[in-house]
Subunit: 327 residues, 2 copies
């Protein structure tokens, strides 16, 4: 900026005035300054500006498990949309379902003085956030609640959705239903398992633990579970996939099976309707999840001091075929 000032033959403050469109600058002077800016390729340093003004940095942080997962990238997009409408930019990070990495990212974001943080939490302990939140960085939890602190949270109705799935299958005559879920350490997985259990009870099906398989889904783990749960005399006649990744692995494992069980997935996914048979799912609006969380965050950024809110978004069953076959 001082280079610009020198070239234009004015003071540094006048350059600042021009850059900030402040009034009380003579048009001729302004023009000279503009020319100098152009010539030198000057661009105001936002970091210095924010430091001096004590204003916000105009950035928010978003931490998800994996920005490459379509579920999270749709979330990312929704968040970005809201952030843009508030004139903010988004720093993203993947926690890889690792709570140390999550913490690292959060603290780094705080050191960068982001205006707020959206996080799909990996761990169960979030005490480390208390000082940051007290220092004025709002945090909103997405898809999973905070472990041990009270904070704004936006969830989907995991329990209700899974109950609905079980009920739907029961209505089509299934009594032996298997449940394939992600690691039970993950809130959504645990909650959906709880919904599965509750769904069985409500439909007069005895809950059979041997029909449940939980764990980080890999092609092998899901393949093994399929062999175990869907073979033999006591085989399950229907199966619920606990999330989109389980569903994908499950579909691949079932692709060449002789007789396929009925199936319902939790989380919708692209092309589900084009598979054979089309896959029925418990769907929810991922964009709405991102929107709601981001809107809540920006309300906090703008000073909303009301007590922490918990929002639960509805889910709905989309019957496409795979869940409507008889045993």
């Amino acid at each position: 900026m001082s280079d610009v000032a020198r070239l234009a033959g004015v003071s540094i403050k006048t350059v600042s005035r021009v850059v900030n469109d402040e009034p009380a600058v003579h048009p001729d002077t302004a023009e000279r300054v503009m020319a100098a800016i152009e010539q030198l390729g000057f661009r105001r340093n936002l970091g210095a500006r924010n430091l001096r003004r004590g204003s916000t940095t105009g950035t928010i942080g978003l931490i998800v498990e994996d920005v490459g997962n379509p579920f999270y990238s749709e979330l990312n997009r929704a968040v970005e949309r809201i952030a843009t409408s508030f004139g903010r930019q988004v720093l993203t990070g993947s926690s890889e379902e690792n709570s140390d990495r999550e913490r690292e990212l959060v603290l780094e974001f705080c050191a960068r003085r982001v205006d707020g943080i959206l996080v799909v939490p990996a761990g169960l302990q979030h005490g480390y956030l208390v000082p940051e939140m007290r220092a004025g960085t709002p945090v909103v939890f997405i898809d999973r609640p905070a472990g041990d602190i009270v904070a704004d949270t936006v969830l989907v109705d995991n329990l209700g959705g899974t109950i609905e799935a079980v009920t739907h299958l029961a209505r089509h005559g299934h009594r032996r239903i298997a449940f394939l879920g992600d690691s039970p350490d993950i809130f959504t997985a645990a909650e959906r398992l709880r919904g599965f259990r509750e769904g069985c009870v409500r439909n007069g099906i005895s809950y059979d633990e041997s029909l449940v398989s939980m764990g980080t889904p890999t092609p092998d783990s899901v393949g093994d579970a399929v062999k175990r749960l869907l073979d033999g005399p006591d085989a399950a006649t229907a199966v619920i996939a606990g999330n989109n990744r389980v569903a994908v692995h499950l579909l691949r494992a079932l692709a060449h099976a002789e007789h396929r069980p009925a199936m319902i997935g939790f989380d919708d996914f692209e092309l589900a309707d084009l598979l054979n048979p089309p896959v029925s799912v418990v769907a929810h609006d991922v964009s709405a999840l991102g929107h709601a969380a981001a809107e809540l965050l920006f309300a906090r950024v703008q000073g909303d001091q009301s007590p922490p809110r918990k929002v639960v978004l509805p889910v709905h069953l989309v019957a496409r075929g795979s869940g409507e076959v008889a045993p």
Copy 2:
């Protein structure tokens, strides 16, 4: 920091020393400072630090068309991985295929003094980047080259891939092949169309413009194209989808068709192998694209001054079934 200093009864500089793990601080003093830091929830302001040190900000910018598109989110993930290994964080933005928005994002990133920018360019004019690049912000173009400047670029072999697709179809007896591409303003779309043409020539097929449909893919636009190209006496017997989004819309349009043409998509996508028939594609390694671009960017960040490089990554045809049916 001055609060911490006051509480610990030391100078501000000593706090700085403790925070930076500098030697020459008495253990007792350090402990007192640490306690004060803990008590006050102090966190160093990275913005101020970077300003003072004149160092890099530890961030890079990534601009794609849409962070929610699986293709770009996979790219995002690959870039993030490299960035993390270099201790950097990633600011992301969606240009929405709008060159003004792209420019806005780039300039905002520059004002934030990112260490470098990765961009999937939307427009054809990048002169606005020259001052920024001269000022020392390296820029690497991904998937599409810069419009009117020379810069580092990482592409995939669009031409070769499409030629291969045509050849593959020709080998299976097809003579009337349709091509559905994205808007010809997009480099990859234009290039793949060129490959289609060249592929026809090489295989002794007369290039028939009436079998080509280019434009931003929507369910309707693709549906209309399908009706036009695949009906009637002169209908195409095979079709090439110019990118992953065209492919998805095409599959949906064909889902209930009586006799389906042979089909090959450009860009692989999840579940392609589970459709009926499984979809043959010209695949390329999106992660490798991100890796290569990010590695190149960080080489520049670290001072590599060699002439701009152009990297073209290979593609390969994955035959799964949809491309291997006779006319």
